[in-house]
């Protein structure tokens, strides 16, 4: 990247009760963006950004329709690595990849990423479609309020002791 050049903006929107959409334009042709996304060695270089202290422990990616993937990712705060796994429902080279997120069981989202050819640029749109509004609400709640149940339990105990 040119020195001092600002990266393109990444937008995230809850586009419906069931769906989150991430949008980003890349300064490169679609074949390069697709390659960086699907080549496991290249994928490793960007999927776990250093600023998030994430590291890929292992990865299996059989990127073809009907293929499966399994990623083990570790974070210093967790004793065990997190496992992400699922199947590729549809793979159209240089155009579209659809995969399931089965680590979350039946409430897992189906992710669709599309690569749109804009000449020297590529528009990437990634949509997470959840099976229900409750599943997306839950994903949001578990992320933003992690630890709150514990706080509430402590508060309950405290109030009971005071009563």
């Amino acid at each position: 990247m040119d020195a001092g050049k600002k990266p393109n903006p990444t937008t995230v929107e809850r586009t419906s009760d069931l769906e989150l959409t991430v949008t980003r334009t890349f300064n490169g042709p679609v074949r390069l963006v697709y390659r960086a996304w699907t080549d496991p060695e290249l994928f490793r270089k960007w999927w776990t950004p250093k600023s998030f202290s994430l590291t890929i422990v292992s990865r299996e990616m059989d990127i073809r329709t009907g293929g499966s993937y399994r990623l083990l990712i570790k974070h210093p705060s967790m004793p065990e690595p997190m496992t992400f796994y699922g199947r590729y429902l549809e793979v159209i080279p240089n155009a579209r990849i659809v995969w399931t997120n089965e680590e979350n069981g039946e409430s897992g989202a189906v992710t669709t990423v599309t690569f749109e050819d804009k000449g020297d640029e590529t528009l990437v749109v990634m949509r997470d479609l959840f099976p229900s509004k409750a599943a997306l609400d839950e994903a949001i709640a578990s992320g933003s309020t992690a630890g709150k149940d514990e706080q509430f339990a402590q508060l309950d105990d405290l109030l009971a002791a005071l009563a």
């Binding site: 809850r14 960007w46 950004p49």
Partner: protein
């Protein structure tokens, strides 16, 4: 800051009750009238009105009169939590995609 911590205390007090937490969870699925909530939690209308009043004061829900019924929905504070989560998710993806820029540049 003082104002903020006072409002947080009010929210914690509001959330210290199991019924009120249940009401929030319920409203997370769909808006509901006080009558519907009272039926759902096997309470009198008056009892539910009190709970709703506490939640409303804490900014956890808002209510709106529609004809003869009062409809309850999740309030601003809850929406702020959602916005905060989306902000974190946005940061993760922005960091990933900024790193992907570098990979693409190297491929050129």
């Amino acid at each position: 800051m003082v104002q903020y911590s006072q409002s947080r205390d009010v929210a914690f007090a509001a959330l210290s009750d199991a019924t009120r937490r249940g009401v929030l969870e319920q409203l997370g699925h769909a808006d509901a009238s006080i009558t519907q909530l009272a039926a759902k939690f096997h309470m009198t209308l008056t009892g539910m009105k009190k709970h709703v009043g506490v939640l409303e004061q804490a900014g956890l829900i808002t209510t709106q009169k529609a004809g003869r019924v009062r409809i309850c929905k999740l309030g601003q504070r809850r929406l702020e939590e959602e916005a905060a989560w989306i902000g974190q998710y946005q940061q993760l993806w922005a960091a990933r995609f900024d790193a992907l820029d570098t990979v693409i540049e190297d491929l050129k």
